[in-house]
Each structure stands twice: as structure tokens, then as C-alpha cells.
């Protein structure tokens, strides 16, 4: 990070590299070279992803490292082609820049199930990727990073390598074809070696050579589990997060904003806070206060002590009233009917049931925080975030400076899960820094502030009709009502309302690879102004639950084994999805007699391009029900780093299970009732399952891995509970209905 801090002055334009994917789109504006944002003081930047200076090779990861291992995999893509030595490569977060747009974000934008995308549809979505570049969305999310970087990052490595070789060929007077590269050096036929560092400066000024990517057969780094680039820093306490920056003369701040969401502040009395040792200032932020102190503890004590007259929230007064409001959406025409097969209205329903899921907090391990200083009219921020350009823009506005006068350093994220796309923390930090110019501010939220000012995963209701005949499902008719995350979050980001059918609202339900003759999924958007936002797997996280629990109900109604029932409906529609079901069947020895006191459930969700199946075993023991084992199988297609895929699968599973067992945000008068881990906990080591992960690579298209583990975890758990107790719980969390070990 400090090295990027030094990157100034010299501007380099790069040609084809940054638009390696883009040039194929055939649109003039998109073909225009992208400005390389890297201007190293010493050393040379060969393209927006590679800096070589006397210290060695740095690779710029255009996506945020929030635990998902993206730095490692994106850097490996470059290093593979560059022939850099893996152990000595440094990986840095990229600055806010259009060059780092996320093209794959748009892959999910077509109203077509991913498993069913034809080649022409894939081309169209690539065109949409170009559109996201026009918007300059530099977003980490949607499990897209690897898919997005797969070509671009390798191109960056390959073209840098060829440029280095071209310079070496001239110097040595040999043909470039006779040179090879290894471990950061160009090697001539006579054994002469030139270090990349000695070629970089000259190579950086060359036109970008045409390059071809290596065949996967020749890969040395990709496809292997690499040592993560961030591991050593994270086991020694050296990894820097938003509030770990130490600056000369720094002050410590926290905020207390109106907890009655949508309400404000009529007035406040700062005196009791100012009486506390260490408290220096109480600032009026309009809808709350910021307290500045000599240390964070004093700031937090001070914030508690300020006497504040809050104005009320316009939200419905109870959670139940909010659900009533959500249910009202069923009365209006659906916003979308993205799956509509057969004649669902003409089939008599054998089962008609309603499902519900609650609001959820992200509860990242690191509460929101940021470090900021406004010095000589220039604002510098350090904040772990998932959308640097948006954050920089918001910071500029809040501090009243031009965006060119903002330097934003993306530091490590102590968990993201969608929360750190949101710019609220950055806006506050910028505003506070502007109120106390020349004073560096470390802003740390309390856990309570974090939990009560989240952009929640919305609550949702599903109304399901279904019927079976002769062992098969003949009707699956779902209506899903919830406030729209897409509208809320994208609207905040691009500053205008998104119209049209909302795919995110129904993903995980309309796009599942089941062959059912009468199959309909309708999305109803509710009007409810609780702040909501992206959450791990978002729509899939509730729709996966609805869909897969209801499939289970249909299987039992048909008197069939729930796993075989799924295979019968999925196998022909998508052999790839059938493959993950077969894998968990074999891994778990599904079908073998289950001992007394054990219940097993299964679920499968296709999300973010990756079908993932989960089998959960519950065991009744003294003191409660234990989630004993989980068997997962995913098929993300080509796997670049198996250990990272496995870790992400386990992570997504535990995140989903935690929510399914005990995650619930409720509101009273618009204020979240839960404020800290004792009221909003998650699984811990003793009650997390033993997990086995199977990774398949039969999917012809690469999918994501950060999120797909979450959606099937929740229904698999509820289905296992049904197997254990005979009780079909149609709402989350499950804890009020079953005594899970906690």
C-alpha cells in the first residue's frame, strides 16, 4: 500500500492490454485505450496490473481481498504468464480506476438461467460487460472476480513478458524466439540471464506486443493450491485493515447515528460526553454525532454519553407489520415471471404453503471503519471496500473536494459479504476529516453501530403451490415477495432507479435446472424502506431455501427419496447439476440405513454459475441437536486453486448454516433489536459441522466460488431437521423450533 502511495506523476497509456477482452466487443468507445492509473515513482508499470521496480515484481489485484483469496488467484494468473517467481511476488490492491472495471458482473444480467445460456447469449452478456466498463464499475461481488480476470490478467502477464523479452533480444542481439523466461529473468540460449528489473523501464515504453496465452496443459501455478499471498501478514498481525493505519497526530473517532432507521436528530447535548477524559470534540453530523477523542474507547464512551433527541422512524413499528407490508406485494402484478412453463393455473395444487425468511445482518468480523485525513485540500483515505471508484466519488462529495483530490487506499477487508460495497463509512470518514482538517482520523464503529446500521439482507415471503403425479413433480408454482435489493443497492450506486424485471430478486428460484412441466416463478417487489443491500448470495440466499425446501416437500408427497427425486428432475436438464448431486450421494453414502437419532437432508442450488449440492447430517445428543457432518460438491468448471475453492465452499456453508440456525434481525420502531454477537451469533468451532468438499470440473463454463456454498446450506439443514423430527419448518431461523446445540 505504501508503495502505491508513491505512485505519482508519470502517465503511461497502455494499448491492447487493458482492453484485451474489450477490443473484441467492437464498440469504438470501448476500444479506446484505458488510462493506466499506475504511475510509479521508481520502476516501471508495464500495464495496469504489473509494476516492476528494483524491489521486484508487484501485481495489482483489481478486486478487494476480503478473505476469498482473490489476491492469490488473480496474481497467479499474471505470474503464470509472466514467469514471475511466486514466492517473491507482491500483491497490491488497485487504486480507484476505470481500467479495473468488472466485466463479468454483467454476465448474470440476462433473464435466462445460467445453466441454460446458449453461446449467443454468452456473447450478449459479454457485451453487457462492456457496458459495465462504461459505467466504470470496479466492484468486487457476485462471485465474478476470477471469471472476470481469467483472460485479462493472463494477457497482462503475457504481454509484459513479451515486452521484456523484446528488450532483452535487442540488447543481446539475438532473436526473441530464442529467449525464454523463468523466475523473473530472461534467459538467452548461451545461458546469459537478465533480471526483469533491468529490462522493465525500457519495456514499459514499448507498444504492447501481440501475445498468445499458454495452454492450460503448460500451467505451472494455475490449477495448484498456492500459498496465499496474504497468509504471512495475517498470522503475524501485520495485515492492515481500515483502522490499522498509524499516522502522526492521529485522533480517534466513532459515531452514533439515529438508530430509528430513517429517523433523524432533533437536538443533542454534548456536555456529558465532553466531561469524559480523552473526549475532545462532539461533531454534528445531522442525523447523529461523531465524537473525537484521544483514543477509541473514550470516543465510544463519549458517544454513549451524548444526550440525543432522536426523531422517529417512518418504518412500520414491528417486524410483523413489516411482513404484512411485504405480503401486500402479492396483491399487485408481479414484477417478473422469468420462469413460466406449462399451465400452472390449470393444475390443481396438492400442497399450498407459505415460507418466510427474516432480515439478516452481514456481521463482518471487522466492524465498519476507515482512516482519513484532509491535508492541504487533498483527502486521503484508507478503507477496505468493494467498490473503490464509488467510494472515492462519495468521499469527494462529503469532503467538498474534487475527486482528483482524493487518494483512496483499499486495505484488507475484515469480511465483506456485500457490506463494503456500501459507501456510508467512507462518507462519514471524509466528512469528519473535512470538519477537522489537517488532523488524521481513525474512525471505528462499535459493533452495535455496525449491526444497527447495516444494509440488511431483506426479509422475504414465498407462496408455493405444488403437485406430484406418479412419483414426479407436475407443478411448481412460486410467488416471491420482498423489497428489491437490486433497486436499492444499484440505485444507491448509480444514482438512479433501476427499472424492468428484477432478476436478482428471483435468482435461485427461477433459474434452477429442474424439468417440471408446469413451472412458474413470479417475483413481487415490496415497498418497504428498510435499508437493504447485497449479502452473500443475496436473492439465492432466500430463494434457494424456498425452492429446495419445497422440492423436498414434493419428494415426500410423492413418496420418493429426496435425492433421487432431484436427480430424476435434474439429470436430463443439466448433467452438470446432476453430477454434484451424484457426488454428494456417493460421498455421504446416501441411501445407507441411517441410525436412530440421525437425520439427513439434501439440497442443490445453481448460483453464480456453480451448481452446489449439500448433504447435512444432524445428530441428536445430550444437550441438543448437533450439525454433525456436511458433504458438499460443487462444479465451478475449471478450477484455478483447489484449496481456495475448498475454503470458500466451507466458508459459504458455515455462513449459510449460521443464518439458518440463528440469524435474525427484528425491528421495534425501526430500530434493530439485535446489537451485538450475544443477540446475533454465528456457528463456532464446537457446533460447526465436519465438512467434506468434492470439487468437480465438468462444467464447461467457469463459475464463482465465494457465494455458491451459502444458498444450499440453509435448505439442506431444514430438510435434515424434517428427516430427524418430522417437523417441516417453513421459516428461518430454525432455533425457535429446534434445540440446536449453541
Amino acid at each position: 500500500m505504501s508503495r502505491l502511495g508513491k505512485i505519482t506523476r508519470r502517465t503511461l497509456l497502455v494499448g491492447a492490454v487493458a482492453v484485451a477482452g474489450g477490443a473484441a466487443f467492437g464498440v469504438y468507445q470501448i476500444r479506446k485505450p484505458v488510462t493506466n492509473p499506475l504511475r510509479p515513482e521508481d520502476g516501471a508499470s508495464l500495464n495496469p496490473y504489473v509494476i516492476i521496480d528494483q524491489q521486484g515484481i508487484s501485481i495489482i489485484a483489481p478486486r478487494a481481498e476480503m478473505g476469498q483469496g482473490v489476491h492469490t488467484t488473480l496474481a497467479a494468473l499474471v505470474a503464470e504468464e509472466l514467469d514471475a517467481e511466486w514466492e517473491s511476488v507482491r500483491v497490491l490492491h488497485g487504486p480507484p480506476a476505470a481500467a479495473y472495471f468488472n466485466a463479468a458482473l454483467a454476465h448474470g444480467a440476462l433473464p435466462v438461467p445460467d445453466y441454460d445460456l446458449g453461446p449467443w447469449q454468452r456473447r450478449v452478456t459479454e457485451g453487457l460487460g462492456a457496458a459495465s466498463k462504461l459505467l466504470g464499475l470496479q466492484v468486487t461481488g457476485g462471485s465474478t472476480s476470477t471469471v472476470d480476470g481469467f483472460e485479462r490478467m493472463r494477457m497482462a502477464g503475457a504481454s509484459a513478458r513479451e515486452a521484456l523479452k523484446a528488450v532483452a533480444a535487442e540488447r543481446l542481439g539475438v532473436d526473441v524466439a530464442d529467449l525464454r523466461t523463468e523466475a523473473g529473468r530472461v534467459i538467452a540460449p548461451d545461458g546469459t540471464e537478465i533480471d526483469f528489473r533491468d529490462l522493465a523501464e525500457a519495456a514499459a515504453t514499448r507498444p504492447v506486443p501481440q501475445v498468445e496465452l499458454r495452454h492450460p496443459y503448460d500451467w505451472k501455478l494455475l490449477g495448484r493450491s498456492l500459498p496465499r499471498s496474504d497468509m504471512r501478514a495475517k498470522v503475524t498481525g501485520q495485515a492492515q485493515f481500515s483502522t490499522d493505519i498509524v499516522l502522526e497526530g492521529m485522533k480517534f473517532a466513532t459515531v452514533r447515528i439515529c438508530p430509528y432507521l430513517g429517523g433523524g436528530m432533533a437536538g443533542f447535548d454534548a456536555e456529558p460526553a465532553l466531561a469524559i477524559a480523552g473526549v475532545e470534540q462532539v461533531l454534528d453530523l445531522g442525523d447523529g454525532v461523531a465524537v473525537i477523542a484521544s483514543n477509541t474507547w473514550a470516543a465510544m464512551q463519549g458517544a454513549e454519553a451524548v444526550e440525543i433527541d432522536w426523531t422517529p422512524s417512518p418504518l412500520p413499528p414491528t417486524t410483523e407489520a413489516m411482513f404484512v407490508q411485504i405480503a401486500r406485494a402479492f396483491d399487485a402484478r408481479p414484477n417478473s415471471t422469468m420462469r413460466d412453463q406449462g399451465k400452472p393455473d390449470e393444475v390443481e395444487a396438492g400442497i399450498e404453503v407459505e415460507y418466510r425468511v427474516p432480515f439478516l445482518a452481514h456481521s463482518t468480523m471487522e466492524p465498519m471503519g476507515a482512516t482519513a485525513v484532509l491535508q492541504d485540500g487533498h483527502l486521503t483515505l484508507w478503507v477496505g471496500n468493494q467498490a473503490p471508484r464509488e467510494h472515492a466519488k462519495v468521499a469527494a462529495q462529503a469532503a467538498g473536494v474534487a475527486v482528483d483530490n482524493v487518494t483512496l487506499h483499499t486495505v484488507f477487508l475484515g469480511g465483506g459479504f456485500g457490506r463494503r460495497v456500501e459507501t456510508d463509512i467512507t462518507r462519514q470518514a471524509a466528512r469528519i476529516a473535512a470538519l477537522v482538517p489537517e488532523t488524521p482520523i481513525r474512525l471505528t464503529w462499535s459493533r452495535e453501530e455496525d449491526m444497527r446500521h447495516d444494509f440488511y439482507r431483506p426479509a422475504a415471503i414465498a407462496r408455493m403451490r405444488g403437485a406430484v403425479d406418479d412419483g414426479r413433480a407436475v407443478l411448481f408454482d412460486a410467488k416471491i415477495a420482498a423489497p428489491s435489493v437490486t433497486r436499492a443497492a444499484i440505485g444507491r450506486m448509480i444514482g438512479r432507479e433501476m427499472g424492468g424485471p428484477d432478476k436478482g430478486h428471483v435468482e435461485g428460484a427461477f433459474d434452477q435446472p429442474y424439468a417440471i412441466p408446469n413451472y412458474r416463478v413470479a417475483g413481487h417487489l415490496a415497498e418497504l424502506d428498510v435499508p437493504i443491500g447485497f449479502w452473500r448470495a443475496v436473492g439465492n440466499s432466500f430463494n434457494g431455501f424456498f425452492h429446495e425446501c419445497f422440492i423436498d416437500e414434493l419428494a415426500h408427497a410423492a413418496g420418493r427419496d429426496p435425492l433421487q427425486f432431484r436427480l430424476d428432475h435434474v439429470g436430463a436438464e443439466s448433467p452438470v447439476a446432476g453430477g454434484v448431486l451424484e457426488a454428494v450421494r456417493d460421498m455421504s453414502d446416501w441411501g445407507a440405513p441411517v441410525p436412530e437419532g440421525v437425520g439427513r437432508g439434501v439440497a442443490m442450488t445453481w448460483s453464480f454459475g456453480t451448481p452446489t449440492a449439500v448433504v447435512i447430517d444432524l445428530e441428536r445428543e445430550q444437550g441438543g441437536i448437533r450439525i454433525a457432518r456436511a458433504f458438499m460438491a460443487c462444479d465451478p468448471g475449471l478450477v484455478l486453486d483447489p484449496a481456495i475453492v475448498r475454503a470458500q465452499m466451507e466458508s459459504g456453508l458455515i455462513y449459510g448454516l449460521s443464518a439458518a440456525v440463528m440469524g435474525e434481525i427484528t425491528f421495534t420502531d425501526g430500530r434493530a433489536d439485535q446489537g451485538n454477537f450475544p443477540d446475533y451469533d454465528a456457528l463456532r468451532m464446537f457446533n460447526a459441522p465436519r465438512i467434506e468438499v468434492g470439487i468437480l470440473q465438468d462444467n464447461p463454463h467457469m463459475g464463482g466460488v465465494g457465494e455458491p456454498g451459502t444458498p444450499p446450506a440453509m435448505p439442506a439443514l431444514a430438510n435434515a431437521l424434517f428427516a430427524l423430527t418430522g417437523q417441516r419448518v417453513r421459516s428461518l431461523p430454525l432455533l425457535p423450533h429446534a434445540d440446536f446445540l449453541i
Binding site: 468480523m365 454477537f677 460447526a688
Partner: protein, 157 residues
């Protein structure tokens, strides 16, 4: 008025109010930011440090009550040489976001000091107070077993 402390073998003076939790003295005054704030109510373990070898929640110990030498994650390794637990953490590639890991490692260090060959159940019990929102639990458990083997003279890995 100032309070004297030994942190990672070094004598330090704090000028903060003696009621201030040790966590903030470490992070804000001494710049030892490896120790993390997660909850402030002893519910997550992110702030775990040692006082005379005992794992404690630094968010709960007032500066004035610190009864012995403090060790933080920064004090666990000797220069560039990682402690056996940290080595095991690297071998098992435990960390994801990493925010909880300083606390996890400090908690595990106390466990191994007291129970050189812990069973799964003993590990689960000792680590119950340390939350990991990234769900790295199976890697943590494996790394603790591995570090135990290494510390007991067995071959690690």
C-alpha cells in the same frame, strides 16, 4: 499520571485513563494493531492477548488491572522466525479475511501451553469463545493438532 506495562518484553508507559481497556491502549496508544476489536463485550475473541501466558480478552481488562506481562500477536514470533503455531497456520493456509486470526492464534497458544496434546473436544472447548465469520474452523483445528505435533517433537505437516 501514567501506568507502567511490559508489552512483548518491552517496558511501556501508558498515559490513558486506568479504566481504559487494554485493547485500546495496545491499538491506539502503542500502535500494536494486530490485536483486533470485534465486539467489546467478550463475545468474539478477536482481542485475545496473553497476560503472563493466560489468554484474556483485552477489551475486558482495564489498563489499571493488568497484572503481568502482556504478549500480543506481534510478540509471538521472534523477528522473522514464526512461532510453531503461526507456522502451522501457514501450512494449513488457515486465514481468510484474517481479522479473527490474531485472537485465534493467541487463544490456541494458551491451549497448547496447558494441554500439549489436545483432543478435538478439548480444542473445540478452548476455542468456543473465538468467532470466525469466514468459517475457518476446520483449518484452525487441523493447524492446532499440527502445531501440537511439531511442539512435541513429532513431524509436522
Amino acid at each position: 499520571m501514567s501506568v507502567a506495562l511490559i508489552v512483548n518484553g518491552t517496558d511501556r508507559q501508558s498515559s490513558l485513563d486506568p479504566e481504559t481497556p487494554l485493547l485500546w491502549v495496545l491499538r491506539d496508544e502503542f500502535g500494536l494493531t494486530g490485536t483486533k476489536f470485534g465486539c467489546g463485550v467478550a463475545a468474539c475473541g478477536a482481542c485475545t492477548v496473553h497476560i503472563d501466558g493466560e489468554a484474556v480478552r483485552a477489551c475486558q481488562i482495564a489498563l489499571g488491572d493488568v497484572w503481568g506481562a502482556v504478549t500480543t500477536i506481534e510478540g509471538l514470533s521472534q523477528g522473522d522466525t514464526l512461532a510453531p503455531l503461526q507456522e502451522a497456520w501457514v501450512r494449513h493456509q488457515v486465514a481468510q479475511c484474517g481479522f479473527c486470526q490474531s485472537g485465534q492464534i493467541m487463544q490456541a497458544a494458551e491451549l497448547l501451553a496447558q494441554t500439549p496434546e489436545p483432543s478435538d473436544e478439548e480444542i473445540d472447548a478452548a476455542m468456543a469463545g473465538n468467532l470466525c465469520r469466514c468459517g475457518t474452523y476446520s483449518a484452525i483445528r487441523a493447524a492446532i493438532h499440527d502445531a501440537a505435533r511439531a511442539l512435541n517433537g513429532g513431524s509436522a505437516g
